[in-house]
Point group: none
Chain length 191, copies 4
DNA sequence: CATGAATGAGGATTCATTCAT
DNA sequence: GATGAATGAATCCTCATTCAT
């Protein structure tokens, strides 16, 4: 199938999907709701995405790419390791705070069975640079002696927890973002 | 008088739900699949759970209760703080490893819109004891000066990440469970 | 099947059926609603009535019998024809006003396909006396020269219309009952 | 652009509904039977009528409109009052005889709880002209001194009874239609 | 290509009836 | 006989996808 005409329309559909998925849950949202919100006809959705599964996978990939861009595009290649991770951490949280719907949808998609392994791999590709830095840190004994993917998982888990804390409406004013990163760094840095 | 409602049947339905939800995803499993797996008629499911939503909420609560029991029933009330948290951490991970399906389903339910606030609250009730210990640690300056719910979130986030790492089939033999706890403790303990 | 034990229970079921049918419509009322209102178990209903259809037919018959009793038990066998019909007319309307639910249900059952011809015939049996008087009136040229069943239909149609008028909440105070009978009598009496 | 919604298909569904409702009763006919008879897919019914309730209400309204058209479209505005009512009466009965199924269905719908007040009002709107004539007759002392709606109810009640008599298969050859109107007129005309 | 009506398999639930207790 | 849990066919409706316009 040739590339469909309008990139705008494709994006409108993806945006509508985010909005609807966030509001009603991924598997409770009919494609008709998405097309309506996107302002296109029901059938049009299927000229841009062959099926709902495809749409969902592409959306996941798109969100990952956007997040990766937010996190990595200003990556301070020359800073210290700590600064590199801190920078990425902060970009992550800022993006998450700026895009709560996208964040919520990513959370739902992450645990979904309909996201293929291929999509998942594509989604983590842009973070290769960060992985390399992690490996370096392990090698240089800056980090504890654990596989990078494990350390990456810690990073993610803590970031998500921090995000959730930031999202709470208790407004205690605490700077969870910085606190969260401290937990991460103290946790994985070799004592 | 009359057949009494059977706890066995209720459990069979919940077990079947776990099995099917893990295999096909919560919102892709028809109630008919659950009843078939449970060995009851389609209608019987609805004498035990008024609707699929109710079933899903009760299942979430039941899983939480089971997990809480695994984590807290052998809580070492007289041990040191570190030992208390370590114990709970290990019980958590052991339960998770022993019940991967339940774990997977909990992961899906946690992000679901259909789980009510009430259910969520009921699910976290059994961990009150742990919260208290956390507060104590903050007060005694064992932990960094952050709200307990934030520290609890860190605990959870790291535990989940560790679980995921344990579930990976790379079988590197690394003891992720212990390593994960070390990250947690170093992270939240006052340096 | 032997006569079931308790006549009371049978009546409770019929009464409950009237109440529920009036409130929710005959075919929107589950048998379970009837048994609940009657204060008996779901299954018990079926020891008194073999099926819902049977229940509905017996109810129709019972209502007809009750109405017939109200109309005919004080039938003034020695009065003039006009007085006879007027008496029956008034009894009819009084019964209808006194039992609006029963009346409503009869209205629904009358047009229902599930009422058998046999039931309908049984329902009109108690009015034989009145039919005879009608025939007499035709023969004696008190009524216009039409078949009695046609005149009976007029009687019924006008009585129902009068009932509906009485049920309206406009409360104009008009004596519809008497006015309705006058319309009937003028209409069918030979001028 | 796109297939336009077809009035034909809508009518086919309404016609099928009449046929099936007449044969099996309104609440015993599955929507699937209607769509099959109409020659459309099960789902198509719901693009024309949002629910069975909506279909039933629209059907009632459509039947009323059709009947009103039959009765009122040739209304002899310049004839005498008696002729006006006689005309409408005859049109009513002719329509009823010509469309026994529609008539039967209207009878069932009239007593149904699912017909909304709004639908009922819309259904009686086209008869305003006749109501006015009735009021005129009361004012000019052609009719007895009763509210028009009461006289209207008599008209209806008698017409229905006459219809039922006409529908009986005794084929006595009696001209019930004319006889019925005579009953009406004698009944309501001031003696 | 865009549109939205048409399709029909699938799904949650209901409910008359049966039957174990 | 009474009870109410168990049954599963039947029902209304949804929705991903197709296709005529």
């Amino acid at each position: 199938m040739a590339r469909p005409r309008s990139e705008d329309k494709r994006n409108a559909i993806l945006d509508a999907a985010i909005e609807e998925f966030a509001a009603r849950g991924v598997w409770s949202t009919p494609t008709a709701a998405i097309s309506r919100t996107a302002g296109v006809a029901e059938g049009t959705l299927f000229t841009y995405f062959a099926s709902k599964d495809v749409l969902v996978n592409e959306l996941y990939r798109a969100l990952k790419v956007e997040l990766a861009d937010a996190m990595m595009s200003t990556y301070p290649a020359k800073a210290s390791s700590r600064e590199k991770f801190a920078h990425v951490w902060m970009q992550y949280l800022q993006w998450a705070m700026a895009h709560p719907l996208k964040c919520k949808v990513m959370g739902q998609l992450r645990v979904s069975d309909r996201i293929t392994t291929e999509t998942r791999e594509a989604g983590s590709a842009p973070f290769a640079e960060l992985l390399r830095e992690g490996e370096e840190c392990v090698r240089r004994k800056v980090f504890v002696d654990q596989p990078v993917h494990f350390i990456g998982a810690m990073f993610n888990g803590l970031a998500e927890a921090t995000m959730a804390a930031l999202a709470e409406p208790d407004g205690s004013g605490t700077d969870y973002a910085a606190a969260g990163f401290d937990v991460f760094w103290r946790g994985v840095a070799r004592p």
